[in-house]
Symmetry: C2
Subunit: 426 residues, 2 copies
């Protein structure tokens, strides 16, 4: 019973009318298992509910479903396995656990005839799991592009609004409780990659470990690039992207330029948003709170209701998640991924700069859409930033050209290369 657990307890205790109305019966909170029963809690529990003995819950035959709201991989994994083995259905918000041990947990649940629900594991208050696993079932999903991490979006929104550089915006996020003391998993893109792995499995049947998804974090972004991006009509967002191409599924988490006016570009502060494109439905866009006590609790309790009435069991059985028998999909070679690119170079302010650059671009078949030299942002007396927007090209060619351009003697560190998200996914 941390933050989310306390929220779940509040909904179950204070609003039994809701579970009664939607589940056809009131869901009773029977046990709350915690490590330290003496710790002060944010919620008044009825007498006898709080315990530090997991066995009390496991051995209670009246308990049919358990919301396991422990974070991290262990002891969460061991507890989850015990809950399933005790014959209870499992509801969890733990994305890391699913991303690491999904196959093990789902196999065991199937074997024992139990179910696992995990709406709260991705994008908190946005019911994206149910929407992918159920509502958009008639579609072949073409792409998913999302802002799945509220911490980084809070930081990037502030950098976009000129409110500071990366370090000061991170400090602000920590001060306001939008970033943890150790924000590594958020800012390096790991958290978003774990969520993307779950969504890609649901939508495409991809069986990919999150750590194998190419990802870049936001730690090295330069505040100036936000201004230059805005000048060419874009904002920089940390995008989790899954895209079906002719050669397979492209997966990536990276800061990208997103066109101003498209829905993802306008996602502010710690919000999450997801754009799903299906071949029948077209694009459906979802926006909401990605975390926080009550939005996450809302997802957990909806799962508990679904589990109580039997919807979870049906969905769980038909989806065959992370099973050997489910069809899977080939991951595409990333170098084939096609998009436009933003290059920001620091160049010596002299004539005849563009000729050698365009020559390299030409060698890799890349054509240039625009070039801006930012004379007001002189780094040293004779070094100025130069921003190049390319037309569409492959990632392989963009990388090769960028690398070769960086070898030119009038190009100085640190340079920047960012992908531009296709408007259709923005």
């Amino acid at each position: 019973m941390g933050t989310v657990g306390a929220g779940v307890a509040k909904l179950l205790l204070d609003h039994g009318d809701r579970t009664a109305r939607h589940a056809g019966r009131t869901l009773w909170l029977q046990h709350v298992v915690v490590r330290d029963v003496l710790k002060k809690r944010d919620v008044d529990l009825p007498e006898g509910v709080l315990t530090d003995d997991l066995k009390r819950l496991l051995n209670d035959s009246e308990v049919s479903s358990v919301a396991m709201l422990v974070g991290g991989v262990e002891p969460a994994r061991t507890i989850a396995l015990k809950i399933l083995e005790a014959g209870k259905d499992l509801v969890t918000a733990n994305k890391a656990l699913l991303a690491e041990h999904g196959p093990e947990l789902f196999d065991l649940a199937r074997e024992l005839g139990r179910s696992i629900a995990f709406e709260a594991a991705v994008a908190g208050g946005i019911p994206i799991i149910t929407n992918l696993a159920q509502c958009l079932n008639a579609n072949k999903i073409i792409s998913i592009s999302g802002i799945l991490n509220g911490t980084t979006n809070f930081i990037l929104s502030r950098m976009d609004r000129n409110l500071g550089d990366y370090d000061s915006c991170l400090a602000q996020a920590q001060k306001l409780g939008f970033a943890e003391a150790d924000p590594t998993m958020d800012v390096d893109g790991s958290d978003a990659a774990q969520k993307l792995a779950i969504l890609a499995h649901l939508a495409f049947g991809a069986q990919v470990h999150w750590a194998d998804i190419p990802r870049r974090g936001i730690e090295n972004l330069n505040a100036d690039d936000f201004r230059y991006a805005r000048q060419v009509g874009h904002r920089i967002k940390l995008i989790a992207l899954a895209e079906l191409t002719e050669t397979g599924l492209q997966l990536e988490v990276a800061p990208m330029l997103v066109k101003i006016g498209t829905p993802l570009a306008e996602v502010q502060d710690n919000f999450n948003a997801i754009r799903v494109t299906g071949d029948a439905v077209g694009s459906v866009f979802y926006h909401g709170q990605g975390a926080g006590q009550m939005p996450t609790a809302s997802a957990v309790v909806a799962d508990m209701i679904d589990t109580a009435v039997g919807r979870t069991k049906i969905t769980f059985q038909t989806l065959k998640l992370w099973s050997d028998t489910a069809p899977t999909i080939q991951l595409a070679y990333r170098g084939d991924s096609r998009s436009r690119y933003y290059f920001r170079l620091n160049i010596t302010d002299q004539s005849n700069i563009l000729a050698p650059i365009t020559k390299i671009m030409g060698k890799f078949g890349i054509s240039i859409a625009s070039v801006f030299q930012h004379d007001d942002d002189r780094l040293e007396t004779n070094i100025v930033p130069l921003v190049i927007m390319t037309h569409e090209t492959s990632e392989q060619n963009a990388n090769a050209a960028f690398e070769e351009i960086n070898q030119l003697d009038f190009v100085h560190p640190t340079t920047e290369r960012l992908k531009v998200l296709n408007s259709a996914d923005g």
Copy 2:
């Protein structure tokens, strides 16, 4: 098998792999019942499927569910009753039928142990029915604000972009197939009111007939008001609004000013969007295609899968829709509804205009936020438009003040009064 029916047939025939994957079995298209079997169709049906004899379908014991995609109230109602009486589950996209005869149909289905699914009846490709009936179950819903009619949003988007007046934008919508030859039900707000009645029933338990929802259409909107609204930071949108207040549920369909930058203000062309606010989840925003062959077919086939696997039956039984035993909610007196207002007056261009206007405003306790006189838009030599934005007030007081101001001898027809949507709902 009109437009949507042909789309459903395509998904079932061409993409049996999807229904197989998500329903655990392939859904077979057994019969297509049409009025005229000789009419040319947009889809190749297998031999022997097409018929004009409804009894062939009703008497076929192998048929378990039927998508009834006939529009309007009759003969749709009679066909739907026959389908249920024949022991089949019903899937429909017909909002008018549900809005008029929901209680009769739902009672019969319950009595016979059958289910009715209707995801496609509201907002086409946006799965708002499942999201309200299932995903947001842990919440007390506080408000729903939506753009539920694509035809009117197409027209209003164009008027907002200075592309013409109401008549020419309507003509353009008809030319491009976004408006019917007789657009009455769309442009007068009836279609949106029917959809709002369904959403309000799901979210609040409101048992209201759509015709009792206060509504105003877009037929009398003046292109100038779009410019004036923009100048004060707003766009004009046809908003379907359901809001829980202390005295009960407020329901309304009307053109309103929506703050630029809030998600609903940026919904373009024929798209639909819905913002749902719950006490736990906060705001969740949905955006997608509101109509069209394949988006609507996507919703119908998702319903057919849900019906085949048994999810629909569970949801249908627990929700007790339009039943006598379901809890209902009091509708609030509209006059108590509180918001800001936009008044546009045409006034004689003379001094001492504001004193009598502010005097009337003051009498009704209304304070003024801003006043703009549009001297460049002179209607006659000495008549100019005057735009007043008020602070928050009750609808009752706004109406009374507006009426009294219209009696002033320097105020000339035709004037305009529009509600400003609260930013939290925008």
